[in-house]
Amino acid sequence: MKKQALADRREFLKTVAGGVAAASVVGFPHVSRAQTKLVLGLWDHWVPGENAVLKEIIEAWGKANKVEITIDFITSIGEKLQATAAAESRAGTGHDIMAFVTWDGTKYKDKLEPMNDVADALIKKYGPYNENATYLNFQDGKWVTLPSPIGSHTYPLETRMDLWKKHAGIDVQDIFPADVKKRDKRKVDAWDWKMFLAGAKKVHAAGFPAGMSIAENTDSNDWLGPLFASYGSTFVTPKGDITIESNATLEALEYLKELTKYLPPDIYAWDDGSNNRWLISGKGSAVINPPSAWTVAKRDQPAVAAQVWHHDAPRGAKGRWRGSLPFTWGVWKFAKNKSAAKDLLLHLGQKEQQWKLITASQGYDMPQQNSFLDHPIWQEIEPPKGGQYNYPIRGDEKLIVCGYPAKQDLAAQIYTRYPIPHMVSRVTQKGENPKEAMKWAAKEIATYMRG
């Protein structure tokens, strides 16, 4: 078993280096046979069965390489995963490999082992990571964390196609069919925020409003960030200039002022599970969310789930953007077995493992390398048939994490302290002048810049 595993790895490294000996892969680690323990702090996946598959993969690898594995699946509910990372970063002890949510790796990047060797090896074999993952993980010339497929997700629109067709006259299945080649460019181009607003008014009038959160949660960032980007509004430039006070932001705020008239009044108190509840209540006709809302509906309200179509975001003057919430993996500098940790992450990054994990997550986990997007699950999963085909990006959308394109340390603050939902709700709920709200946001963001 051990010999077989070693042979596999050598084979892999040979492929990567194009026939050059394994040792020529610059700085790539090797499992030290003297160190035999590896402790992992992984995200406790909400999809039933995913943890078991991941555990099986990791334990099989451990057995083959004579590495004793301990896995702690840590929930992100109540920020327990974040609190664990914070405690370990301070204590200088804990897990060897740690799963991070979106920006958490950035917070502790000084305490993490660079992942260049693993990332470079995977890029050579499978092609580059998407731009969004690269922005998030590759900082100051090094991969501070490794993009993880497990838990990573995007934020498409989830529309009740029956309600929108009946009450708004918009057939989203027709605009975004389950085959990108069958898309009609004119129809796709026509799908913009203006058309969405017109539809939202009609479904609201019919008693089935769309629902999007504007509160202290990631869901709010993950639809507002893309909306502002589609209007050309950037909050802070990569050089650190605060540019949120702009005509583009003003235009987006004016739009939101109008749109929120047709959303439920309680969106200012929503949490990350509210849109799930809104959809399965039967009252909601559209949410912006990963397929978890559909999954809950499939369990609790199958009739609702059968009418949910995942598809692209509306377009703005500056393009079509979709939100994302990627996960990353990090290896602590204090880890006792860095070499084995990196070897394991390299193993998990292989297509065979990624394939199994995407299947186990029922398509929820979104790989960060485009070459893995041909997994058949998004075409197969139903009902309705093809309903999740557009969950991976198929058209002209660009993935974004709210805070882009600011330097990552600052973007992390913009994401985690929610100035964008606050700015919006100052206008749409409090009734503040949009210019005043922008001024407040600029002042607030300036306070995040301290060293």
């Binding site: 109540g78 920020e79 974040q82 609190a83 914070a86 301070r90 920006w103 958490d104 950035t106 917070k107 502790y108 000084d110 509160a215 202290e216 949660n217 439920p264 009044p265 309680d266 969106i267 200012y268 108190a269 929503w270 949490d271 509210s274 509840r277 809104w278 209540s281 992390a412 603050q413 985690t416 302290r417 606050h422 709700s425 100052r426 709920q429 409090k430 407040w440 002042k443 607030e444 306070t447 301290r450 060293g451």
Partner: protein, 311 residues
């Protein structure tokens, strides 16, 4: 010769050992030492979980964001320039003083009512009234969250059934603040009630009888006997409750997470937002420590008042 000298020495050592043993046992038997030993586990816990973290948080609050250099009081100076911080200060004071006032008032009324009940009935009502206080707060707040929940609020359902308009309990800043204060009052009132009830039981009945004979009505008895006799208990209970209420975390965390627009953040939850969620541990520690001088000063004055009244 050597053997002759060894024998007395050995006896002497044995005597010394016996003396030492009996002296250790005697010391162990002495009340102060035994008391210290029995308190030792508690002292270890206090040092490990309160004193050490307290000094460590002072150290953290004096570091820069990356925790690479000591910046002394810069984090506090920086905090005082933040609008959001002052919003948190205002909310914390509003939350604490409103909640403590209503807890004290309702606790007092409840204690007076229960005190008038026959002994048997008293036991039942005392037990029932304590239920909110003995339940784990995070769990009971989750129950309240279902009552206020935005999409399926049970309270709104009742309001609509009764013909009233539903309220945005957690989405509107006013009602969100109202909700967190209400839950805190619901949770904390039994503590005041039980303290006041204990105080009421310790007032000699002869005082009321004499006052009655002298023609004092219920209000005069309350004003001139009950309240003065309960003064110290009221002061200490309010001090204790003020400290606990200021440091509240669970209610806001479960109900509103500080929203909408940071309007319901308290020191504890804002500290968590900055330190854990945003990764700025030094600034988070600074927010948590801002509470300390406020509470220390109020504790000093209240306890001084209690000491004076006892003397």
């Amino acid at each position: 010769m050597t053997a002759l000298r060894q024998e007395p020495l050995a006896e002497e050592w044995a005597r010394q050992r016996a003396r030492r043993r009996s002296s250790v046992l005697a010391r162990l038997r002495s009340k102060p030492v035994a008391a210290f030993l029995m308190c030792l586990p508690l002292l270890v816990l206090i040092v490990g979980l309160i004193i050490y973290p307290f000094f460590y948080s002072i150290y953290l609050a004096m570091l820069n964001k990356r925790e690479t250099q000591v910046v002394w009081l810069d984090n506090f100076r920086f905090l005082f320039t933040m609008d959001t911080f002052w919003l948190v200060v205002r909310t914390s004071f509003l939350f604490t003083f409103t909640a403590v006032f209503f807890k004290a008032l309702l606790g007092f009324i409840l204690a007076l009512v229960i005190n008038t009940l026959p002994t048997r009935g008293q036991r039942v009502w005392r037990g029932v009234s304590l239920v909110p206080w003995v339940m784990p707060l995070a769990l009971s707040t989750l129950g309240w969250w279902w009552i206020f929940e935005p999409t399926h609020s049970a309270l709104n359902w009742i309001l609509v059934e009764l013909g009233f308009a539903p309220k945005s309990w957690l989405a509107d800043p006013f009602w969100a603040r109202f909700s967190i204060i209400l839950v805190n009052v619901w949770y904390g009132t039994p503590f005041f009630m039980i303290m006041y009830l204990a105080g009421l039981k310790s007032i000699p009945l002869e005082l009321f009888d004499s006052a009655s004979i002298d023609g004092a009505g219920p209000f005069q008895q309350l004003r001139f006997i009950t309240l003065p006799m309960l003064k110290n208990i009221i002061a200490i209970t309010m001090l204790f409750s003020t400290i606990v209420t200021f440091a509240n975390f669970d209610i806001v965390r479960v109900l509103t997470r500080g929203g909408p627009r940071n309007e319901t953040h308290l020191f504890g939850t804002f500290s968590f937002r900055l330190g854990i969620e945003s990764g700025d541990v030094p600034l988070g520690a600074a927010v948590a420590l801002v509470m300390f001088p406020i509470l220390a000063v109020s504790a000093f004055f209240i306890l001084r008042g209690v000491r004076r009244s006892v003397v």
